[in-house]
């Protein structure tokens, strides 16, 4: 099985049983790797309607056939489980060095079930696998734990850790790795925490079987040479994702004050240039990446100083925009605290912003929170993050995420709980960006832009890379209302393309941002696996997985359907108050129009459930039969 280590590693933590099985050929043939294997294993093996923190939930770590190969961005691990955030399909993608090391150790996929009897970590050293006590690490920060584990085991181990927030099952707890990378979203860290797993450490000294090693080597070298010629090669690296900050503000898509407004007067204090001028130590990258977008930094604030990788654009948008932290130093410190506690920066900042707005409106009071909390105040943020990570008293509610918290608190607080399906919204204001709005509504894991990023098309009318958008600049004048119809096709195209990289086990940024061509992936895929696949073949697999994850949510979430695809009322009922998009909103009727168009293009019924014929055309007959029983079909 060229391109794959060939082994699935299963660990039943309740029984302490470790088994190595051949990676199933049929699953690989149909779903290739990474996200494809995550989705199929979840469908096949999760006992239906298992609760996310129940020990029968499945935790999957999957690499792809191009993980660990000489190819720009071949670093990725794709994690998945039943979602702690939404109760449906969850996955979360991570860079760094863990995935490649897992393959060198001899494993393509790791599946954990059950729960260890005491806090533990997994030790994987080539063929030798142990479940070891994590007693001395339990309760420690995610960064601290990795540092100490590397001191104990050796720096050649690649390690993922969770922080104290995951131990307390905070619904937006993340996985941390290599002092700056995370699998951030859906509470994937909390699922590990619920299994009493603090860390997974792996060292691998084996070779990945390759079909034609001469060609794989040659094409790999060619691929790097091709990237050096691209304009994005030098344009992307200096600021990484933070380079988006200026442009997003200029087009009025920067969320501020919990998405009340859409432009930050202070954006020059919190952008990529501010990181470079004031914080950055080095550009820190992932395995095999020639364009390291990580900015390893040092920050000093009144609340403390810290080393941290970042902040990324999303963290700037949510902590610097939605929470209104006024300096890059403050944002970086909040970022560090999230990394050490093991919290997703997007969801944590979103919960903080919601809490602050509730306080300002008198919906939550000082007695409940324990102090006053304000936008722009780092001390408020630090207080909230630390309390949430412990789930103490009142903060047990906030640890549930904005959807569950607002459902409980009531008093219309759900109208400004900025989430879809229970996952908090990332850093783009969409009330005048209908394509992007639709992207957030229909992403399978909840409100995330990873599946489709089409803001450029909304603003400029054509798809362009982020790098090109930044280079082109923006007028900053008041934007006209963007037409809402006709967005389905462009969103679906993006939702088909972007996950291909998650399936192959590589980063998408080289293609999306730097103009790296698809031919490289096709050629290297053939040299590595011996299988001739075209980009179109990859798109078909990606499309199939899209239906599969939708079906999984239909199966797992009671009553799942159309009404789970709407944004909160603020984003349809309230026009944007200020900035270049002042006055704009997308009405409920317009949202319905977009959803109808989208479902039709997808071959789903009016309730957003995949139709039998659509599934049968994709060779998913058994899956169609499974959901027929569960679903609320509406013709």
């Amino acid at each position: 099985m060229y391109g794959y280590a060939g082994t699935l590693l299963r660990i039943d933590l309740s029984k302490g049983e470790i088994s190595k099985e051949p990676l199933p050929q049929d699953k690989v043939d149909e779903y290739i790797g990474g996200r494809g294997l995550v989705a199929k294993f979840l469908w096949d093996e999760l006992p239906p309607e298992t609760e996310p923190f129940n020990e029968r939930n499945i935790f999957i770590a999957a690499t792809g056939p191009l993980t660990g190969i000489l190819l720009p961005g071949s670093s990725k691990t794709h994690f998945g489980s039943k979602s702690a955030a939404t109760g449906g399909y969850a996955d979360s993608n991570m860079g760094g060095y863990f995935g490649p090391e897992l393959k060198y150790a001899g494993y393509d996929v790791l599946i954990l079930t059950g729960k260890a009897s005491e806090p533990s970590y997994l030790f994987i050293d080539d063929a030798n696998i142990e479940i070891r006590s994590a007693a001395q690490y339990w309760g420690k920060g995610a960064i601290t734990t990795e540092k100490e584990l590397k001191e104990e085991l050796g720096k050649d181990f690649q390690i993922i850790t969770v922080g104290p927030a995951a131990e307390k099952l905070v619904r937006f707890a993340c996985i941390c790795h290599d002092f700056g990378r995370q699998a951030g979203r859906t509470g994937i860290g909390a699922v590990l925490g619920s299994k009493n797993i603090k860390a997974i450490a792996v060292r691998g000294t084996g070779a990945i079987p390759v079909f034609d090693i001469e060609q794989a080597y040659k094409k790999g070298r060619d691929a790097y040479r091709a990237i050096y010629d691209k304009p994005g090669f030098t344009g992307w690296t200096p600021e990484g994702t933070a380079g988006l900050t200026d442009w997003i503000n200029k087009v009025g898509a920067f969320p501020t004050r919990n998405f009340q407004t859409s432009y930050a007067d202070h954006y020059k204090e919190i952008n990529g240039k501010a990181i470079n001028d004031r914080l950055k130590i080095i550009d820190k990258g992932c395995f095999c990446c020639p364009t390291p977008c990580g900015k390893y930094s040092h920050t000093e604030t009144a609340q403390g100083s810290a080393f941290v990788e970042g902040p990324e654009y999303e963290t700037i948008a949510l902590f610097g925009g939605s929470c209104m932290l006024s300096t890059i130093e403050d944002i970086a410190y909040a970022n560090y605290l999230c990394d050490e506690l093991g919290l997703d920066t997007v969801s944590a900042a979103s919960v903080a912003a919601w809490t602050i707005e509730c306080f300002e409106r008198g919906i939550l009071n000082r007695e409940q929170i324990g102090r006053e909390v304000h936008f722009g105040d780092l001390q408020s943020i630090v207080y909230l993050l630390e309390k949430i990570s412990k789930r103490e008293g009142f903060f047990d509610l906030l640890a549930e995420g904005v959807k569950r918290a607002s459902d409980k608190v009531g008093q219309d607080s759900a109208t400004f709980a900025i989430q879809v399906k229970g996952l908090e919204w990332t850093g783009y204001e969409c009330r005048n960006a209908p394509g992007m709005m639709l992207a957030y509504m229909t992403a399978d894991i909840g409100a995330h832009h990873n599946r489709a990023w089409v803001l450029g098309a909304d603003v400029t009318g054509s798809s362009t890379s982020v790098h090109d958008l930044i280079s082109a600049g923006a007028s900053g004048e008041t934007m006209p209302k963007v037409e809402v119809s006709g967005k389905a096709a462009i969103v679906i195209d993006s939702q088909t393309t972007r996950p291909i990289f998650d399936i192959l086990g590589v980063c998408r940024l080289q293609y999306m941002e730097i103009g790296f061509e698809v031919e490289h992936y096709e050629k290297i895929f053939y040299a590595v696996t011996g299988k001739k696949k075209s980009w179109e073949d990859f798109r078909r697999v990606s499309e199939k997985i899209w239906h599969l994850t939708r079906c999984f949510s239909v199966r797992e979430i009671k009553g799942f359907g159309r009404h789970f695809d709407y944004p909160p009322a603020r984003l349809s009922d309230e026009p944007i108050k200020s900035g270049p998009n002042k006055g704009h909103r997308i009405t409920r009727e317009e949202l319905d129009l977009m959803l109808d168009e989208y479902y039709k293009a997808r071959g789903w019924d009016k309730n957003g459930v995949p139709m039998r014929k659509t599934l049968e055309d994709m060779d998913m007959k058994e899956i169609a039969e499974s959901i027929e029983v569960k679903s609320n079909h509406q013709e």
């Binding site: 720096k155 080095i282 095999c288 930094s297 080393f307």
Partner: protein
Amino acid sequence: MILRGINENCSGCGICRLVCALENFREMNPSKAALQIEGRFPAPGGYVIHVCDQCGVCAEVCPVEAIHLENGAYLIHEDECTGCMLCAEACPNGVMVNHRGSPTPMKCLLCGECAQACPRNALILEPE
């Protein structure tokens, strides 16, 4: 010629190590590389590149004199090597490859492919 690492330019990507293993073993396996990248995190933040600087300690300690200086590089003559691995233990930079019971170790041949492949100008091959 000598191989030199410029630590400030290194982003930790490890392309150099994968290329070294491919060049010398035709294996997709960076653990067989004749150079190491060491991260210093969380503090002070940065990478240290450990390369073979052709110091010759390996040749000195070899009990059968199987390591010879040729065109500026110390090379292991595999037909003379007994596989005792004393050279690998003695290497001050820890960059000799003693991999999983292989009969002979491997060391940097000064081929320069790592420097060619580095996207960050963190490895250079220059006259001494």
